[in-house]
Amino acid sequence: MTFIDKDPAAAIDQIQKGFEKSGYICDRHIATSIYLSQKLDKPILVEGPPGVGKTELAKATSEFLGADLIRLQCYEGLDESKALYEWKYGKQLLYTQILKEKLGDLLEDAQGLNASMEKLHQFGDHFFSEQFLEARPLLQALKSEKQVVLLIDEIDKSDHEFEAYLLEILSDYQITVPEIGTVKAKTKPVVFLTSNNSREMGDALKRRCLHLYIPFPDSDRERQIIQARVPELTEGLRNQLVSFVQQLRAQDLKKLPAVSETIDWARTLLLLHTEELDTELVRNTLNMLLKFEDDIDNIDSEVPKLVLEARKANR
């Protein structure tokens, strides 16, 4: 990669620009962490409220580096057979059935149980070889010839034991499969872990990662993001919209509207050919921003005031 050998500040600028090109507006903080992760060969643990673009960051990185994205979605009960590798039990069983007769032929001249066993041992562990190994995302990422971006999404949803499985891959980029041995990464993948903080991650995992916290963007950055994502929106409406959302975040809500909701709302307004925010329109489309009935009810009375404020932002 060319950007890496440059002077750090220049390299970080280049990352920032590159991301912008692919429509991901990031600040220097984020670009720094991408740079560091490349230089130090460290995974990045991305935290922040839902909808601020944690997953997008991984996608943008894969686009920027021109690498494939391998994604592992975590959930409660996810275990190594679904994340690391699994034996193709069905295939193994099927092959034994098919090869039953062949085995009979092979063992024909063997006398007695001991001799048969002896003979079988000579064939080695055919059934526990790579052919029967189902590579799941983590193993795929390691076996890939090209560099890939590995996204381990919502790691906080997984169980504690899964975190422990990850430690080996995160620190040494290798996995140990008991039956085969250690699989080392051919090219070190760029690893992202995202977390919504629904549970505190273990210290061991955190120690192995860079920690990046993405907060809600300030209004300037949010305007840039909307401009990049919904370029058709007029500047006036964009300012009003961002100002409205920023005000909304200061309210007491169960779930604050995130960037992704702002983008959705911007698209909605575009579809409705809106020229300017008005109370009626905001009330009708509020469900794009707020995802709880309680929140919508609570904010309803505030809407005229917020809209008024937002319109001021334009001037």
């Binding site: 069905g90 504690h160 210290d203």
Partner: protein
């Protein structure tokens, strides 16, 4: 590893940011990559390498700013003596131009004699103890240079000497406010204070008032710098150590005696205890959760494939999470304990996802919604405001509780009741409690009063205890932790 980084790491550790050795190595590489020039960039980079939670990030920000700006402060302080001495020299130079040179030469001459005397004095005390000997010896070597450095306004030299002296005085061990004077004195002595005071006295004796004042002025500036350094160090270390001390005390203190200013710390402790319990218990679940190949089911399922084992089936056990109903008396005396019980229960929502809570003093009402909406820290005072303040009526509360949730109590439910059992003379309706007990998995009664006063006055504990699986005293964080640990152990 370079020294500033090591010091910075020390500072972080005192500020409750646990930086591991691995992380220090990473930080070292990061600094190597980025250098110290671009502070903003360095801060962004180091914060990602060293701070791993939001709380840590906050402390990190504070430490970083403090650490790197304090460096600048030090520069200023170094500048001060320099500037001052220059000023003085200028004024010196302006008032009597011809004599100034003589003066300086005089000073030089006297300085030599002074230092000679100093060595003599040092030699005299060398006959004392061996420890003193080495100290004096070191001081001797530096005293000469301290005098010179003061005279010449050698800032770098002074700072270096200051740091070296701070090291040998074990400044990093400072814990208490009252040690400030002691440590500054010790550092000054280490740097060779004695020589300089002797020199000043000598100049006074020889009638060289100007020279003496000049030197003592410079010495004062140095003293200020040292005092500043000591105070900075105190701010760094004492915070961490004294917090630890306070925490140990708070764990055992009666919950009703906790003062308002300690609430924040207590909450933090509760959260940490809860996290530990959570971690322990999710590890226990692991064993139960593991699936084995279920041969019987696999066979049965594969009958369709002509007995060829094709599709596998795994044994899996379901996790059993305890349902907890917490009923809290929020009248004056018990409210503070209720606060922490609820805080504890809600901090554990990972292993105890199904907690419903109720508060009562006169009437009883559910407060689960408040917790969901505002989080435990705000919800507890709100609940106390809403339901507290009336005289306790256990009978009434029991009836309300029965009306509200009796149908939902099943054999997996644990009912925790927190109250002092003082019903102000009314019937505590232990018959309802009996009914609850037969339905629920268990009923735990927590009483903040000590056992010896149970049953005295209007306390109904003797009538209540028979219908509880367990009735316990619970008045400190340690006890509270035990109760909840027990709750989790028997539930899994």
């Amino acid at each position: 590893m370079d020294r500033p980084l090591a010091e910075f790491v020390d500072m972080l550790r005192y500020a409750d940011v646990p930086v591991s050795i691995g992380e220090v190595l990473d930080a070292g590489r990061t600094i190597e990559l980025l250098g110290y020039e671009d502070r903003g960039l360095l801060k962004a980079a180091l914060s990602q390498v060293m701070a791993k939670t939001m709380d840590e990030m906050e402390s990190f920000d504070k430490c970083f700013d403090e650490f790197f700006t304090s460096d600048v402060n030090l520069d200023l302080q170094e500048n001060n003596p320099g500037q001052l001495s220059e000023d003085e020299e200028e004024t010196d130079g302006s008032s009597p131009p011809p004599s100034s040179l003589d003066n300086l030469q005089d000073q030089d001459a006297r300085q030599e004699s002074g230092s000679g005397d100093g060595e003599g004095g040092g030699g005299g005390s060398q006959e004392g103890s061996p420890a003193e000997q080495s100290g004096q010896g070191g001081a001797d070597g530096e005293a000469q240079s301290l005098l010179e450095m003061l005279e010449q306004g050698d800032r770098t030299g002074l700072t270096l000497a200051m740091n070296a002296a701070a090291d040998s005085a074990n400044l990093s061990n400072i814990v208490l406010m009252t040690q400030r004077g002691l440590f500054s004195r010790r550092i000054m002595e280490e740097m060779g204070l004695n020589e300089v005071t002797q020199e000043i006295n000598q100049r006074r004796r020889n009638g060289n008032e100007d020279g003496a004042n000049d030197l003592s002025g410079r010495l004062d500036i140095l003293f200020d710098a040292v005092r500043d350094m000591v105070e900075r160090q105190l701010a760094l270390t004492a915070d961490g150590k004294s917090t630890q001390f306070r925490q140990d005390v708070l764990k055992k203190v009666k919950l009703s005696n906790v003062e308002t200013r300690d609430f924040r710390l207590m909450r933090e402790m509760v959260r940490r205890m809860a996290k530990r319990l959570t971690d322990m218990n999710s590890r226990v679940k692991k064993v139960k959760n593991r699936g084995h190949l279920d041969i019987r089911k696999t066979m049965r399922r594969n009958v369709a494939y002509d007995g060829i084992l094709f599709e596998t089936h795994w044994k899996q056990k379901e996790k059993d999470r305890p349902k907890v109903l917490a009923v809290c008396d929020v009248s004056g005396s018990v409210a503070s304990v209720a606060r922490f019980l609820l805080l504890f229960l809600y901090s554990m929502n990972e292993v105890l996802p199904k907690v419903r809570s109720f508060a009562f003093s006169g009437t009883l009402g559910e407060i689960t919604d408040m917790f969901d909406r505002y989080g435990p820290e705000e919800a507890v005072p709100m609940a106390i405001e809403k339901f507290g303040g009336r005289s306790t009526d256990y009978g009434r509360a029991m009836e309300d509780f029965k009306d509200l949730v009796f149908d939902e109590i099943d054999n997996r439910t644990t009912v925790i009741i927190l109250g002092d059992g003082r019903s102000n003379g009314s019937d505590p309706r232990s018959d309802i409690l009996k009914e609850i007990k037969t339905r629920a998995k268990r009923v735990i009664w927590l009483n903040p009063e000590r056992k010896s006063v149970w049953g005295t006055g209007d306390s109904e504990m003797p009538r209540i205890t028979p219908y509880c699986t367990k009735a316990e005293v619970c008045n400190s964080l340690v006890k509270l932790e035990l109760v909840i640990r027990d709750l989790l152990k028997t539930s899994s």
